[in-house]
């Protein structure tokens, strides 16, 4: 597919009971294309400026690509479209930005329903995360201790990235440095903006789910999310906007049934999903998660990763630290491997690339399946139960990058 052409990615989630099947497909858009749920009655349409006059009288809503994209809906529509969790008002024009998330969802009362996401891309160069960490050090006992060194990479939007590494390799330090929480000596650029320099402006673009669930256990799920929406969504939102953002987020992360339950009563998996929901509701474009699957069984971990995959498919960058990635290996687009050098006890980049390449680089596959956990064994020190090849892979990857 030509990446420079406008395209629409349709993502559908078919919810039935507690399970959700996700389906997605990207379609290139041409001047004559229209899209809708039915042929004869267009409820949701993507149309070009040339067709606007013919489609305009149709009851429902449609989107036009008019240099920039704009949105219009018939005033009497009963099923409005949502942009980034906020309902679009019928009859009002909106400027849509590249990679805005548009959602049309079904009836609340239905046990089975489908979420439909449209991610529009104008085909212009997408924003990416550019990491250039020369050094990250701290003062400990009056001495300088270097935690990370020479880590450079670019991560495109829409990618879900796994961070692997042994204990003390600097995974969380790396994450904190990239998010700007603990700045390193270097530069982190996202969408052309320096995160360190513009942190105050960009903090709403960063969602971080730490290892521990930082939630008030006595509050309800709904109130937790409503407060998060009030704090993070733009001031211009109306009460209905906040409500719909909460509703959509609960639905997206399977928390609707638990909305009136106290956080303390939720299961580990539900609590983790709520932690993600609190961040997701602010619609950040960079999503960082520190071991979101720890303590979850395979089914819960799979469901959680499915949620994260869906978030990445909305054009966001999702970066995940996990110690049990094998069960969800196919969901990741890229793998970052950090290893602690035995020479200076500092964390270095031992690999960055796609999953298949990672397995080939470290020689880890089990019955044709990616054994990502095997990578950690390769690089861990011998006293940690590993093979002690961290320095070997650090050098090898540096040579490969230099070439």
């Amino acid at each position: 597919m030509n990446e420079n052409r406008p395209s629409i990615t349709v993502i559908c989630g078919f919810h039935s009971g507690s399970s959700t099947d996700w389906w997605q497909k990207k379609f290139p858009l041409s001047e004559k294309d229209t899209m809708g749920r039915e042929n004869d009655s267009i409820e949701t349409s993507i149309v070009t400026p040339r067709q606007i006059s013919t489609v305009a009288p149709v009851q429902g809503m449609f989107i036009t690509k008019d240099g920039k994209t704009s949105y219009h809906a018939a005033p009497d529509t009963v099923n409005p479209l949502y942009r980034n969790n906020i309902p679009l008002l019928p009859g009002k024009g909106y400027l849509l930005e590249d990679r805005d998330m548009l959602v049309l969802y079904g009836d609340d009362s239905q046990q089975e329903y489908a979420d439909v996401f449209f991610v529009y891309s104008s085909g212009q160069s997408a924003g990416e995360l550019s990491v250039d960490i020369r050094e990250r050090s701290v003062m400990a006992g009056g001495r300088k201790k270097t935690l990370l060194k020479n880590i450079r990479m670019d991560i495109p939007q829409g990618h879900m990235v796994l961070i692997l590494g042994g204990s003390g390799a600097g995974k969380t330090t790396f994450m904190n440095a990239v998010m700007g929480y603990e700045p390193a000596d270097g530069k982190i650029v996202y969408n052309g903006r320096d995160i360190y320099r513009d942190f105050d402006d960009m903090k709403y673009e960063i969602g971080y789910v730490p290892q521990q669930d930082l939630l008030r256990m006595s509050d309800t799920v709904y109130n937790t999310l409503m407060d998060a929406a009030l704090m993070r969504l733009p001031k211009s939102c109306t009460k209905d906007d906040y409500k719909s953002a909460v509703e959509q987020t609960m639905r997206m992360l399977g928390l609707k049934r638990e909305q009136f339950n106290r956080v303390g009563k939720l299961s580990g998996g539900q609590r983790k999903r709520l932690s993600i929901a609190v961040e997701y509701i602010g619609n950040p474009s960079l999503f960082f998660l520190d071991e979101p699957d720890s303590g979850l069984d395979s089914g819960m971990a799979m469901e959680l990763m499915n949620n994260l995959r869906a978030i990445a498919d909305q054009g966001k960058i999702v970066i995940v630290i996990s110690h049990s990635p094998n069960r969800v290996a196919e969901m990741f687009d890229e793998v970052i491997v950090l290893a602690k050098s035995e020479e200076d006890n500092c964390g270095y980049l031992a690999f960055h690339g796609n999953t298949a390449d990672a397995c080939s680089f470290f020689g880890v596959t089990v019955k044709e399946n990616a054994d990502l956990e095997g990578i950690v064994s390769r690089i861990n020190m011998k006293e940690e139960g590993g093979e002690g090849k961290g320095d070997y892979y650090i050098r090898r990857f540096a040579e490969r990058t230099d070439r």
Partner: protein
């Protein structure tokens, strides 16, 4: 273009609403029961001469002020430190520390007002026969006593808020609290004659100003009747408790000033939350 987010006032509303909402969920109504039990015990021991005789009034006022400080300290000693990690996370995503503290102050003030009402009502009912006569008080003597008690409870609450904003663990807060309490009690000037450094320290205690205010409203200087009272009468306290409205107002302003100072210190201390290590 940079989109505007919720204002500082808006954040106060969100967090104050959260505090009130969690009142029932966190079973903070237990504080009311605790306040009632404390004042009930005090009422059992104060005797019938409160507001009538100098020594009895002094002892009773001291007991009531002790109860006010205890209740205030317990209100907020763990309220911030128990969710410090959450605050750190929320601060990084736009929460203003000043808004967070202001929300807590609003909630704590309401809590203090109700707790004081319990303490005040029980204590005044016990001494219904002896309620002081108006003698230079700002409102009625009962009103003045309520306001004084409220200012002491609220000031103690804000003092505990500083501790809660400074320490990182609830256990540390509970370890520090008894020291704060003991300083308030022994430096009040009621138990011991204070001179030099201790006298200076006592000027920074809520207990001293609270006691002086109550004794001023209670008109204790005119209650020195028995020989024992004459023998134990303290000239310094007598001078500080001259019964007039200006004197009461002066004490109130000092108590309110302390509370305000504690709020500012709490904000400064909690701003360091970003430096907490993982």
């Amino acid at each position: 273009m940079k989109e505007k987010r919720i204002s500082g006032i808006g954040q106060i509303k969100v967090y104050a609403a959260k505090c009130f909402r969690l009142f029932m969920a966190d079973r903070q109504w237990k504080n009311f029961v605790s306040a009632f039990i404390i004042i009930f015990l005090i009422c059992l021991v104060t005797g019938d001469d409160m507001f009538r005789e100098y020594t009895a009034t002094k002892k009773g006022a001291f007991a009531v002020i002790c109860a006010c400080i205890w209740v205030g300290l317990f209100n907020s000693i763990q309220s911030v430190c128990h969710e410090r990690a959450i605050i750190k996370r929320e601060h990084r995503t736009g929460l203003r520390i000043s808004s967070y503290i202001c929300a807590h102050v609003i909630y704590e003030f309401a809590l203090c007002a109700l707790e004081t009402l319990i303490l005040f009502t029980a204590f005044m009912l016990r001494n219904l026969q002896n309620i002081p006569k108006p003698n230079g008080s700002i409102g009625t003597p009962a009103f003045d006593i309520y306001v004084t008690m409220l200012l002491v409870v609220f000031g103690s609450d804000m003092l505990a808020l500083i501790i809660s904003c400074t320490v990182k663990k609830e256990s540390t807060a509970m370890t520090v609290m008894p020291f704060v309490l003991i300083i308030q009690l022994i430096m009040s000037g009621m138990l011991f004659d204070l001179e030099g450094v201790t006298e200076v320290i006592s000027r920074f205690t809520l207990s001293r100003w609270g006691l002086n205010a109550i004794m001023t409203v209670a008109n204790t200087n005119d209650n020195v009747r028995s020989g024992y009272d004459i023998a134990v009468r303290d000239d310094a306290i007598a001078a500080a408790c001259e019964p007039n409205a200006t004197n009461v107002l002066h004490k109130w302003m000092i108590l309110a000033g302390f509370a305000l100072l504690y709020i500012v210190i709490s904000i400064i201390m909690l701003r360091r939350v970003d430096k907490d290590k993982r």
